[in-house]
């Protein structure tokens, strides 16, 4: 009897700690931010918490500037991510199937992993000028590497005994791919696709910030130039929320489709 009461109390304490502690931190941070913003005399750009929230409200609900910008930015993202997903998975599967191709790709994949893609942005500008094509190409560049690598690793890591088993039951190569290798590699492929999405979103932003501005990048530059700190911060928050939404959806999809792998 006493034990049961104690349990209830401790779960409540546990729950309140999980929620209250971060909230507490957020409140403290907010207060510090407010104090700092009020003491800023020279920099006009750091908004107060209040300014940021009102700007957030303004952006989301009145005037279509934010939504228009999101539309422009995401257009490139959608094209690029789809191409990167299809292309990346295909290349990854090919690299797993044809070992020589995989080995030839290895040094380039290593370089792509190590090197920041950002310096290639001016290059794309020189080649393709301003427009949606260079943006799409660059986002593909940002996103495709983890997709290729994870797809290939996923196929290679399918239990060799299961592959042998399939052979022993007379599976043809096509049957082996469709019924064993692809389903087996699926968790890794989904992981690669999720990482690729995260990098694609990053790429979308980087390209707009460093290239001629369109979309969100343009909005950010504009607000910085006109010293509208509240709108600047609010835009950043909105994009972060979009990223959060997309990636959470992806995670959910990943979880649901690969229940067997947990």
């Amino acid at each position: 009897m006493a034990g049961a009461v104690r349990n209830n109390r401790s779960t409540l304490a546990e729950w309140s700690r999980t929620v209250l502690l971060p909230v507490g931190v957020a409140v403290v941070f907010g207060i510090l931010w407010q104090i700092d913003a009020e003491h800023q005399k020279s920099s006009l750009v750091i908004p107060t918490v209040g300014q940021t929230f009102s700007a957030l409200g303004h952006l989301l609900f009145s005037g279509g500037q934010l939504w228009k910008a999101l539309g422009t930015s995401n257009e490139a993202l959608v094209y690029a991510y789809l191409i990167a997903a299809v292309g990346g998975v295909t290349l990854g599967l090919a690299a797993a199937r044809f070992r020589l191709l995989g080995r030839l790709m290895d040094p380039y994949l290593d370089m792509a992993l190590a090197m920041p893609e950002a310096p290639l942005i001016p290059l794309a500008l020189i080649a393709f000028g301003i427009g949606i094509v260079p943006r799409v190409l660059l986002i593909i560049l940002f996103a495709i590497t983890p997709i290729i690598i994870n797809t290939r690793a996923g196929v290679r890591n399918v239990d060799p005994q299961v592959i042998e088993m399939a052979r022993s039951y007379g599976a043809s190569e096509r049957q082996l791919w469709l019924r064993v290798l692809l389903p087996g590699a699926w968790p890794a492929i989904m992981l690669g696709l999720r990482l690729g999405l995260a990098l694609a979103i990053d790429g979308m932003i980087i390209v707009e910030l460093l290239m001629v501005s369109v979309g969100i990048g343009n909005l950010v530059m504009q607000y910085r130039a006109t010293l509208e700190g509240g709108l600047l911060f609010a835009t950043v928050i909105c994009v972060a929320l979009e990223a959060l939404l997309l990636l959470s959806l992806m995670r959910l999809l990943e979880r649901r489709l690969t229940k067997w792998a947990r």
């Binding site: 042998e164 088993m165 022993s168 039951y169 007379g170 699926w186 067997w260």
Partner: protein, 267 residues
């Protein structure tokens, strides 16, 4: 009938073992239909390799492997394998694992499900058809593996230390299950094992193999009556056979230790 004549296989892979030592050296063996054969021997004696060659999953250097007079060129519908690690597809449920071989052969869905459910009932897993492999114990997973092999109705079952990864209780239960299932059709079975009790309990004949090079040292007839149950282990005949096999195995271990010491001294 399975006939093996003069089968020889070299070790593959670079730098393995001493050069020129054979994985299998001049194996000759005849396995009659409906016979239950067990193969036992120390590690490295080639018993699993021999099984894989019969299954058509491994190639060999010289010699002949004939099934019903026809040479083995690869896996075939007349032989099905049960694997030590179960080799179940983790992404598919139990039912789909059992119907795997049938699916590959284009058997229509309704018939596949019928056969699979029949076999799952036979191995006692009819309530688990929709579960995933990870939800089953080791013993249950291997029963799925056995059901899968039986689903394609092979003439020969090839079993590669199928109970080696199980704890002792599961192993004993599955041995009894296997004896019971086998009585139904009395398929030809080639069963590789490490355990002397298992070898004698299950077999009509026990093949003893030695390593380096892999050869058949001796074939022991097991003339115990069938159908068999666990109680056969208490008979003096069983004990005598088991001890005999152990003595032969111990000789092999001692010989190979002596050989290892001589090689070490030479090196």
């Amino acid at each position: 009938m399975i006939e093996i004549r003069g089968l020889t296989k070299e070790y593959s892979g670079r730098g393995r073992e001493a050069a020129g030592v054979l994985a299998l050296d001049d194996i000759n063996l005849k396995i009659r239909d409906h016979e239950f054969i067990t193969i036992i021997g120390p590690s490295g004696c080639g018993k699993t390799t021999l099984l894989k060659i019969i299954a058509g999953l491994a190639d060999f250097g010289s010699g002949q492997v004939l099934v019903d007079g026809k040479p083995v060129t690869g896996p075939g519908p007349d032989r099905a394998v049960v694997f030590q690690g179960f080799a179940l597809m983790p992404w598919a449920d139990v039912l789909h694992n059992v119907t795997f071989g049938l699916e590959l052969r284009g058997v229509p869905k309704a018939r596949r499900t019928e056969i699979a459910m029949e076999l799952l009932t036979m191995v006692g897993l009819e309530g688990f058809a929709r579960r995933l492999p990870k939800e089953l114990s080791g013993g249950m997973q291997q029963r799925v593996g056995i059901a899968r092999a039986l689903a394609v109705n092979p003439a020969t079952l090839l079993m590669d230390e199928p109970f080696g990864a199980l704890d002792e209780q599961a192993r004993r239960l599955l041995q009894e299950e296997l004896l019971r299932i086998w009585e139904r059709d009395r398929k030809t079975v080639v069963f590789v094992t490490h355990s002397m009790e298992e070898a004698v309990l299950l077999a009509d004949r026990v093949i003893l193999m030695t390593p380096r090079p892999g050869t058949i040292k001796e074939i022991v007839d097991v003339n115990l009556p069938r159908p068999r149950g666990r109680d056969i282990e208490k008979t003096p005949e069983f004990t005598a056979l088991k001890e005999y096999i152990w003595d032969r195995l111990r000789e092999m271990y001692e010989e190979s230790s002596a050989a290892a010491i001589t090689t070490a001294v030479k090196a």
